[in-house]
Symmetry: C2
Subunit: 122 residues, 2 copies
């Protein structure tokens, strides 16, 4: 049976709900680039859903391999401790489904290039 | 006399100093793309320098027009209140130099595209 790969776009969250806007637009762009790959959003705090709920939703949609992609600017404190623990807990809820944690999006060369290009044009 | 445009890449900061790594790489990339445009880093907290010091440095380097580019994921709470106040205070220190605040880098379509492309490949 073939694997279905799903993505959780995982953000810190903020008190102001407009903070989720860019993540919502990112999910829409992923749907354009990779329509076969289900995407859910999740947040550490303030905004729903939490990570467990997003992983549950992807499994319900048929995902057998899930990557949690941290939409964070850098591989700092939370991503060294808190988030790995959340990912392990989510994985433990679904035997037979692999749930892995990617590196912070802000560390990716293409993201750094895009921010640099944006800043250069400001 | 021609204007010299300088950039402050402005980040929130974090307790873990490695958090500044991507911003340092972004500044290096801007130097490749636009070598004539001086760039300084600044942070709201935890990491030095603060915004006033970065603006002072750009003015000392000859900048007559300064854009503060928030390396934030979204146009949320801090960027609605705290950061505009910091920018106004920095501007008030330098008569004849324009200091303006750009939109959060995370809101830019090209940055959203880059994050989406990165997530799709994870």
């Amino acid at each position: 049976m073939s694997q279905m790969h799903g993505i959780v776009l995982f953000g810190h969250g903020a008190r102001d709900p407009v903070w989720a806007g860019p993540m919502q637009r990112t999910a829409a762009r992923i749907a354009e680039l990779s329509p076969e790959m289900p995407v859910e959003l999740a947040f550490m705090e303030f905004i729903e859903p939490v990570l467990d709920v997003a992983v549950d939703r992807l499994v319900a949609r048929g995902a057998t391999r899930i990557t949690v992609v941290p939409v964070f600017l850098a591989q700092g404190g939370h991503l060294k401790r808190d988030v790995p623990a959340l990912v392990s807990a989510a994985a433990a809820r679904h035997a037979g489904v692999s749930v892995t944690l990617a590196t912070a999006a802000g560390e990716a060369p293409e993201v750094i290039d895009a921010i640099a290009a944006y800043a250069s044009r400001c």
